[in-house]
């Protein structure tokens, strides 16, 4: 079984995002970039399926500017067999990303596609669902447990009401939630090994994808600030303060 994994490069989750004073964007110069946390989980899950002998090949794919090679080498060092770099200098929106992944599916014929439930930069939470739709295959989003057996995936999903279990026929798209697994750390020898693993570079224009990046961002603003309030010294003062606010 072959697994295709989405592996997006994003601003590291520990970075405190600053909006540029003129509202034209967020400050990204010199900011630390890392794999999207949900995509590291996606890759880890694929690798575990390979460790168990259920999968034979794991391919990571990213849609990113030309300087993202080192990012893909990370994915290879973590254990992916191959990497695909779809090169575009401008960020694509989820519908375009889904159309690109569909092209990669046509080339690679994977039995399972694992994406993150959301990219922590755009927080769109769309690409996996769109891909399943365009592909005409099942989707199981927000996965916290994945079992593959006899051409089917059983997926436990984190939903607002609790844990939902779906059974989907393969091939299918699964998107990851945080509790699916804990990604392994990359070891030094693996970084060396990754240097010789295959990395395909495909200019976006070569894929023949009709782009649809229809949402225009007009303005960026910092969120409304909450400010520090008052400190109370004990439970009795706390109750008094709440009563004063009319909350008790």
């Amino acid at each position: 079984m072959k697994i295709l994994v989405g592996y997006k490069r994003v601003v590291d989750y520990n970075v405190r995002i600053q909006v540029k004073p003129d509202g034209s964007g967020v400050e990204t110069a010199g900011v630390k970039l890392s794999p999207n946390p949900f995509d590291e989980i996606a890759l880890e899950e694929a690798l575990r399926l390979r460790d168990k002998g259920i999968a034979s090949e794991v391919v990571v794919a990213t849609i990113a500017p030309a300087d993202a090679q080192a990012h893909l080498r990370n994915g290879l060092a973590m254990g992916a067999n191959r990497a695909i770099h779809v090169v575009t200098e401008t960020a694509v929106q989820p519908l375009t990303a889904a159309r690109i992944f569909l092209k990669l599916i046509e080339r690679e014929q994977p039995d399972l596609v694992i994406l993150g439930k959301q990219a922590i930069d755009d927080d769109a939470n769309q690409t996996g669902q769109m891909l399943a739709t365009l592909w005409g295959r099942p989707q199981a989003t927000f996965a916290s447990k994945l079992t593959i057996e006899a051409g089917k995936a059983t997926v436990v999903r984190e939903v607002d009401a609790g844990l939902e279990t779906l059974e989907v026929e393969l091939p299918a798209v699964v998107t990851t939630d945080l509790r699916l697994n804990e990604p392994r750390f990359i070891k030094l020898p693996d970084i060396m090994k990754a240097k010789t693993k295959p990395l395909d570079t495909i200019p976006l224009a070569e894929l023949g994808v009709e782009a649809n990046d229809s949402l225009k961002t007009l303005h960026y603003a910092p969120p409304a600030k909450r400010s520090r309030g008052v400190m109370v010294k004990d439970a009795a003062e706390l109750v008094a303060a709440l009563k004063q606010k009319g909350l008790l």
Partner: protein, 313 residues
């Protein structure tokens, strides 16, 4: 003029309050009409509840045994077929809406506006990115259907007192059979629902264990509050996942939020930005939660909570 179709969320015959919040967001478009669609095996009961939301013109029902459980790839073709004739299709930004609406958008060939938090005009909206650390104003093309998920913490529930017409809708589209619903393990609780509660008491890693969490439940019951938790508390197995508040859990806007033994990581704060009053109880006076708390109390939660219970009488 805008014509809005809202996809109702429901479970076990009860309409989710998120649906009435979508109606508020739709009303901000000053639309010509707002309709709701209820897809279910037997939609009558939920449709009757939806018909009471003020400002709704029609409630469309799609009865089909295949709609017994909300399977996105089953519902999406039906919603997409009904979208003809509407300028906007809205669903709540809950796990239900997040799962379904992008599939609807892909069928209609558009990008989705995720987590719509404010309306500037019928095609211009505000939404958060980077875990709410930036708010962007986005414009959707006026010649395409706008598909959006509505950030429920940003909108009040639309009032009751409406009396919309209920009509059965005909949708004739092929539905896939590649997905089977196996089950839903829902935490049964008599406490208020976390997403719509006016008061929420949340515990974090500082609470220390599942047994210790009983004191959080007790305090919540005393206040008539829902119980929430940080991701660390869920990961450690103190409480089930549906109690998680934050970027990857529930985004909530109660009048009163009490964070106990929670440090205040940005991913947690994302979930409570719209709370009316935030109270923080933490033994570390430098915990980041105090930077956003309206009322802070430094101390050991195991000492403070019993005192608090006593002071509440």
């Amino acid at each position: 003029m805008a014509k809005v179709l809202i996809v109702a969320e429901h479970l076990d015959g009860t309409l989710n309050p998120a649906t009435a919040k979508c109606v508020s967001a739709a009303q901000a478009l000053a639309p010509e009409r707002i309709d709701i669609v209820v897809l279910a095996a037997d939609p009558a009961g939920v449709a009757a509840q939806a018909a009471q939301i003020a400002g709704v013109a029609r409630v469309l029902t799609v009865a089909n045994p295949a709609n017994a459980h909300p399977i996105a790839q089953v519902l999406a073709p039906q919603v997409a077929a009904l979208a003809a004739g509407y300028t906007h299709v809205f669903g709540p930004s809950t796990t239900f809406g997040k799962d379904l609406m992008p599939a609807v958008a892909a069928r209609l060939g558009v990008n989705q506006v995720s987590d719509l938090m404010a309306v500037e005009d019928a095609y211009t909206f505000k939404r958060p990115i980077y875990a709410g650390n930036a708010i962007i104003t986005v414009q959707a093309p006026a010649d395409q259907t706008v598909v959006a998920t509505v950030r429920t913490a940003s909108w009040p529930e639309a009032a009751r007192g409406g009396n919309a017409a209920v009509e059965a809708a005909q949708v004739d589209v092929p539905l896939p059979s590649h997905t089977r619903f196996v089950g839903l393990a829902a935490g049964k609780s008599d406490r208020p629902d976390l997403q719509s509660a006016k008061r929420v008491v949340s515990g974090g890693r500082g609470v220390g264990s599942a047994e210790n969490f009983q004191i959080i439940y007790r305090l919540a019951d005393k206040l008539g509050a829902a119980v929430g938790a940080s991701r660390a508390a869920v990961d450690a197995g103190y409480v089930p996942n549906e109690l998680q508040v934050g970027q990857t859990g529930k985004i909530i806007a109660p009048e009163l939020y009490i964070a106990i033994g929670i440090s205040g990581a940005i991913q947690h704060l994302t979930g409570i930005k719209d709370a009316g009053t935030i109270v923080a109880i933490n033994k570390d006076g430098d915990a980041p939660i105090f930077e956003v708390a309206d009322i802070g109390l430094v101390g050991d939660l195991f000492q403070i909570i019993p005192e608090l219970e006593k002071a509440l009488g």
